[in-house]
Structures are given as C-alpha cells and as structure tokens.
C-alpha cells in the first residue's frame, strides 16, 4: 500500500541500491509530505539506514533518483540535516560537545572560513534546546547514551535545515530523554520542518509518527500511520516472527485507544 503525499518534500523514484552486487533496496518508489514526522520501520538489515543514506546521496545507487524539494541533491544540500546511527560515531575522537555541535555550522560557513559570533550563538541556542549547556566542554565519550544522542541532535539543529534524517535516535536512550526528544521533534514538525526517523520500536511508532514507511528490501507500505500500521502489512514486513506478533497485539490496543481519544 503506497500512498503519494501531497506537498512533496522527498520524491524517491525507482531506487535500487546494492552492496557488492547484492540488492539492499529494491525498486523503492515513494513520496513524503512537508511538515510530517515520518517513521521508517522494518526488521534488522531491512535497508532502513541505507534508504536514508540514499535519500541524502551518500551511497551510490544502481538506478532511480531522489529529489528533495523538487531539486537534485547537490542544489539543496544546505537544507538537509543528519543524525547518524550511534555505531558509526568515533566516540574517542578528541572533540567536546561544543565542537561537535559547531560542526553543524561548517556547511554554511564556506571554505577556509572560521566560526563567527553568530555561529557560536546558534550553537549555544541548540545546546540549550537539548539541555546540554552545562556539559558543553565534556569529551563525547564521557556522556551517557541519552546525552550522546542529544549532542548529535543539537548538531543537526545547528544546521538550521528544513529536512532532518535521524538514524535510530532513540537507541540506547532513557525514557526521559526519549520523551524530551520526541517533544522537540513535534515542535520542529509544527514549525513546518520534515523529520524522517529510523525507528525499531513498533509500540511507540503508532504514537510518534504521522507518516510511516514499512520496508524490508522492498517497500511494503508508505502512507499516513493509521493506514500503514495494520496487522497484515506488519506481517508482510516482518514475515510473522513471534515476538513481533505479540507486539502487534499491543499496537492494535494503542490504535483502539487513540481512536477513542481523538
């Protein structure tokens, strides 16, 4: 079930990506609406990270194309921000929280330029938003999982982009941080930003996202969350694994609950 968005921000057309001649994404065709909080959901190794990397143009594609804001990627780079998956970060790199968030300004600064006062102001502002001002001089390895995740969120915020890609921002994060982050993401959506999040917890997915993508190498579904998170489509995505089936029972309960309240 693939529904097309109105007011499209991302347009992925017939996209195929492979590593070592093994297709990881097969013929993906989807669109995403402006001002949405989008969840990308699928089992491990389904190609979720690869999908957002392809959308940002950092993995070579076999065929198809991606348009962002109706333009080629190179034209709109400055409008795209990214929060990488935890595992891909070198936590021992000699950089403080402040240094990392400042990297979010590098793209706008231009070649050979140094950070100015305006950049420093934006960085401090973003640190405030994620509640890390007090820890700004800490080296990034000396933070808890939740704090580490917030550093990279702040770096993405410092880019002042319009479209945000986040790879599992809730992995290894405590409940309080997760709540704070989702609150921030909702605010961003309300400001008209589009936020695309790779997520693996089915239970919270129904509650967090207003647009959901289900993938497992192929695209299973893309559309408004209530129409996508159905028993049948989840079964198709996960291939009927037991633990997932039990989670689905809970989702159906949440759905019933949210219908009763909205």
């Amino acid at each position: 079930m693939i529904l097309q968005a109105e007011n499209q921000v991302v347009d992925v057309h017939n996209l195929t990506v492979s590593y070592d001649n093994k297709p990881v994404l097969w013929n993906i065709d989807l669109t995403l609406p402006k001002g949405a909080l989008v969840g990308i959901i699928g089992p491990n190794g389904a190609g979720k990270s690869t999908l957002i990397k392809a959308m940002m143009g950092i993995v070579p594609v076999d065929s198809g194309y991606v348009k962002i804001f109706g333009e080629a990627l190179n034209v709109v780079r400055q409008k795209i921000a990214y929060v990488p998956q935890r595992e891909s970060v070198d936590w021992d790199f000699p950089a403080s929280v402040y240094d990392i968030v400042m990297m979010g300004r590098y793209g706008k600064m231009g070649l050979f330029k140094r950070p100015r006062k305006a950049d420093a102001d934006v960085v401090m502002d973003c640190l405030r938003k994620v509640g890390l001002v007090a820890l700004k001089d800490r080296q990034i390895a000396q933070l808890s999982g939740g704090q580490q995740q917030r550093v990279f969120l702040a770096r993405a915020l410092a880019q002042e982009a319009d479209l945000y890609f986040m790879d599992e921002p809730f992995a290894g994060v405590d409940i309080a941080t997760e709540t704070a982050i989702i609150e921030l993401l909702r605010e961003m959506r309300n400001d008209g930003k589009t936020v695309v999040v790779v997520h693996h917890d089915l239970q919270s997915a129904a509650e967090y996202f207003n647009w959901t993508i289900l993938i497992n190498t192929r695209l299973i579904a893309s559309g408004p969350t209530p129409q996508v998170l159905t028993n049948e489509l989840l079964q198709k995505t996960y291939g009927g694994k037991l633990d997932v089936l039990s989670q689905m029972q809970d989702i159906i309960k949440i759905e019933a609950f949210s219908v009763g309240h909205s």
């Binding site: 143009g57 780079r77 990214y82 990488p84 070198d90 000699p94 950089a95 990297m103 793209g107 933070l143």
Partner: protein
Amino acid sequence: MSEIWIILTGALVAISCGLLGSFLLLRKMAMVGDAISHAVLPGIVISFLITGTRESLPMLIGAGIIGVITTFLIEMLHQKLKLQEDASIGVSFTFLFALGVILISQFADKIDLDQDCVLYGDLAMIPFDQLTLTSGIEIGPRAFYVSMINLMVVIAVIVLAYKEFVITTFDNSYAKIIGISATLWHYVLMSCVSFTTVTSFESVGAILVVAFLVVPAATAYLLTNKLKIMLALSALFGLLSSVGGYYLATYFDSSIAGSMSVVAGFIFGLVFSYTKIAVRNTVQTEPILK
C-alpha cells in the same frame, strides 16, 4: 655550529610529521604514512635519473607525486576491487618500494644514491650540503631550508583548512552531506604527508620518518581529548625526540635518526605508564558518570 643545524633540521621534520601524524592517527591511517614513505623510493630514483641531482625541485615534486599516486592506488584497490584496506596498503607499497630497490641496484653506477641513505637518512651529513648565496656566503644546510619550507606549508594548510580536516576526519559521510568533499581533503592531507616524507628522506630517512608520523601523535592522543592540544603536544613530543635523540646519539656515537626514534618510543612509554597510574587514581576518587 653544525650541531645546531642537525638538531633544528631534525626538529622541523619531527614537527611536520607530528602535526600530520595526528590526523593520520585519528583517521586510523597511520600505516598509510608508512606506505607512502616506502613508495616514494622509485619516485626519488626516477627523478634522480632524469635530473641527475638530488637538489632539484623537480625531484621533490616527482617523488611527491608518486606518494600521492600510492594513496590513489590504495583507494582504488580497496574501493573498486574490494580488497581489504590493509591488503591494499601491503600490495601497493611493497610493489613500489621493490621497484625503487631494483632501480637503485640497476643504476648504481649512474647515481650517487645508495639504499642506506634513502632508508635510514644521514643527519650527520646535512651540514656538508650548504646553501650558498651568490656572494659566496654559506647560510646553512639545504636540508634545513627544505624542511623549513615544508613545515610552513604544512602549518598553512592545517590552519587554513582546519575545519575541513576535522570534519572529514571525524565523520566522512556527514562531511559529504553538508557539502565538504571528503575525497578532496583526503588527497590534500596525503599530498602533505607525501611531500613531508620526500623532503625528510635524506635527513631522517624513509623508514624512520614513520616513527615521527606515528609515535608523537600516539603519545599526544593518550594525554588529551582536545584536538588542538593534541596537535601541539604531538609537535612538542616530536621536538623533544629530535633534541633528546641527538644528544643520545652523540653520547653513544650511534645513528642520529635511530636515536631520535628511540627517544620518541621512550617518551611514549613514559606517558603510557603515567596515564595508567593516573587512571587508576581517578577511578578511585571520581564519582561514576551518570
């Protein structure tokens, strides 16, 4: 007088290597420095055969380019042919190095260049090759000026492109997303390493330059978690190794470059023990981070 020139030249090479080595270490590419330092050998020999001297700028440039080609070869084997990175490094530099060795032995009668000189350098000989003004006044060893210009270029590149080096070192993909070319800065760094290796081959030699690229940076990495301080410390440890190494060599009447590497290793050992002891103490006193 010649003593000061030797120490200064060694120090200049060590500081260039310490600065570049810090970035190589953080990119987990310390061994690429090793590869380049070996692979420039055929470049040195070929340029020598063409120009007939080892004083010429063309020779420097020719050999430097071979170094950059080496990193290109490594990237190609790794990316395009999917060979593991360490294997790619091993294949490329042993091939080029062997080529250099064959060239030297083939043309031994034509060129005033022997393997030992290229591999181990000879700091003690530096003062005999003076730069002379037109008025006939000797202003110091040529190697000193070459190393000095090299260091100035290295510092200028790092200062100007600091944020580009930092971002491509820390997070290649992110750099690409925000429009900073990871490939371009990779080759800029590798060019600097390559020219540093070539300019220092006759003073510290192609093998010992590796010690200067790796050891001071590794020592500095143990002591700080701020990049700018790491760069400064790495340069400082390079400097200390070259000064200490010189006096060690005169005391034992042995190889200067060798002694410098020994001192660098000794400093690393000291710092390593110090950090182990310091960690044990802080673990006991500092509350566990939440």
